[in-house]
């Protein structure tokens, strides 16, 4: 039988190993799986390579994971923001690596991993320093950069509703990178606000089909990064 439900965020992340590559969904605070990230902090795995659009805000969620010294390298498009202090400090001290990837290329590289495409061509970064060292190739007189897929051992994902077989829906712009990361990781771990029976989600409305989901944890009242920060909270 299909058994994807886990009893707790702790049990769902328990086998994330030191040195793992971990995709974390969300765009800034929106769609960020805070409870799973905090479970990963409790768990303590280190030397992680983390893929996220940003580097977290304040001292909760992804920023707390970085601040706890568990992340060796960030792969992201926008590592700074008005409330991002943890990553910039470590980066300027040379204590964390950064691979900067344009946002669209980041999304497409993640999808490519999920779709079995080891590389593709894009005009993004042509003629810029971010194309240095990469293969440039001309098609129909225009230049393109070759970009490789981006795979991960684990994905931490937040969704709105999951059924028992892992079909997912999201809420508004909290969707963002989450469905792509489900496709690209060996093991996809999802926190869902609501867990329902198979058949309770209209098959036409499924955004992530269950085949891309390995583990489901119900987190009925997820905290929101912006609220935590406004409250001056930190983790642990």
């Amino acid at each position: 039988m299909i058994k994807k439900k886990y009893a707790s965020v702790a049990s769902a992340v328990a086998d994330i190993h030191d040195g793992a590559t971990v995709m974390i969904g969300g765009f800034g605070a929106s769609g960020s799986p805070i409870e799973l990230i905090h479970a990963l902090i409790d768990h303590g795995a280190k030397d992680l390579t983390v893929i996220n659009n940003n580097t977290g805000n304040g001292e909760v969620g992804l920023a707390a994971l970085i601040g706890n010294g568990q992340v060796k390298k960030m792969i992201c498009s926008f590592p700074k923001s008005s409330q991002s202090r943890v990553f910039p400090k470590l980066y300027q001290e040379g204590l964390i690596e950064l691979e900067l990837v344009p946002q669209g290329t980041l999304a497409e590289r993640i999808r490519a991993a999920g779709a079995g495409i080891p590389a593709f061509y894009t005009p993004t970064t042509v003629g810029t320093v971010l194309a240095e060292g990469k293969e440039i190739r001309s098609f129909d007189g225009r230049e393109y950069v070759m970009e490789p897929w981006l795979q991960a051992d684990f994905a931490l994902v937040k969704c709105e509703m999951s059924d028992a077989v892992g079909n997912l829906t999201y809420n508004k712009t909290a969707r963002n990178f989450n469905p792509l990361m489900c496709m690209a990781a060996t093991t996809t771990i999802v926190q869902t606000r609501k867990l329902v029976n198979a058949g309770d989600i209209d098959p036409e409305h499924v955004i992530t089909p269950g085949i891309f989901v390995n583990r489901i944890v119900e987190v009925p009242q997820p905290v929101h990064e912006d609220i935590l920060i406004a409250q001056g909270r930190s983790y642990p």
Binding site: I2, R111, A113, G114, A115, M183, V206, P209, G210
Partner: protein
């Protein structure tokens, strides 16, 4: 007198080797019968290339939905927990390595795992490949269900395929009316004989050497 497995028995035997909880894609013909022989306590989720997970059995004729077909263009139903998606997402599941098992029919399968099941290569024949080349390259485990020989008695398990390949070195296990045979680095390896079938008969009807049971 027992003379091997019939079509349903071949499908039932293949179903036994599919792990519980697998995502499965079934080819046209005998492979379709696998869905009727799921071992008790097991659950498989069926994928069809034209955009659905959670495919269910055919509907009664008066309950057909003209917009609910499988990749063989037959009318089907949707199980609870089904999902619809477009063709690129569907083939991402296949080509991205997310489908666990694909069970295919074949014209030929070789001792090195090559499979030829899309074209005879005959001059003037209309080539048609569908999703076959995507499936054999993308799905984690490629199983074949086939009669051991053609109607004319020619072996379908061969040393090298003479028909144009669908994909090289992709098949892991073969279920025939006579035996279950694995493709190994050393070639064909007998796994199980059908009731009443001897190793010698299987070997005689196979176009390559088969390693016997240890």
């Amino acid at each position: 007198m027992n003379t091997g497995w019939n079509r349903d028995q071949m499908a039932a035997r293949a179903a036994q080797d599919i792990p519980d909880g697998s995502y499965v894609n079934l080819g046209i013909g005998i492979p379709e019968l696998v869905a009727q022989h799921v071992p008790e306590g097991c659950e498989f989720i069926y994928h069809t290339e034209n955009g659905m997970l959670g495919m269910g059995p055919p509907p009664a004729e008066d309950e057909r939905d003209l917009d609910l077909m499988n990749a063989g263009k037959k009318y089907v139903t949707a199980m609870p927990g089904a999902a619809y998606f477009h063709h690129a997402d569907s083939f991402s599941m296949i080509r991205g390595g997310h489908i666990d098992v694909c069970v295919l029919g074949t014209m030929q399968v070789a001792e090195n795992g090559d499979i030829a099941n899309w074209s005879t290569g005959a001059p003037g024949a209309i080539p048609a490949v569908g999703g076959a080349m995507d499936l054999v390259q993308g799905v984690k485990h490629i199983y074949v269900i086939t009669q051991h020989t053609t109607r004319k008695g020619d072996p379908k398990l061969v040393d090298r395929c003479t028909y144009p390949l669908t994909g090289p070195g992709v098949v892991s296990r073969i279920f025939t009316d006579l035996a279950v045979v694995d493709v190994t680095p050393g070639g064909f390896q007998l796994v199980e004989l059908a009731p009443g079938i001897s190793f010698e008969e299987v070997q005689a009807k196979t176009g390559a050497s088969i390693l016997p049971l240890a």
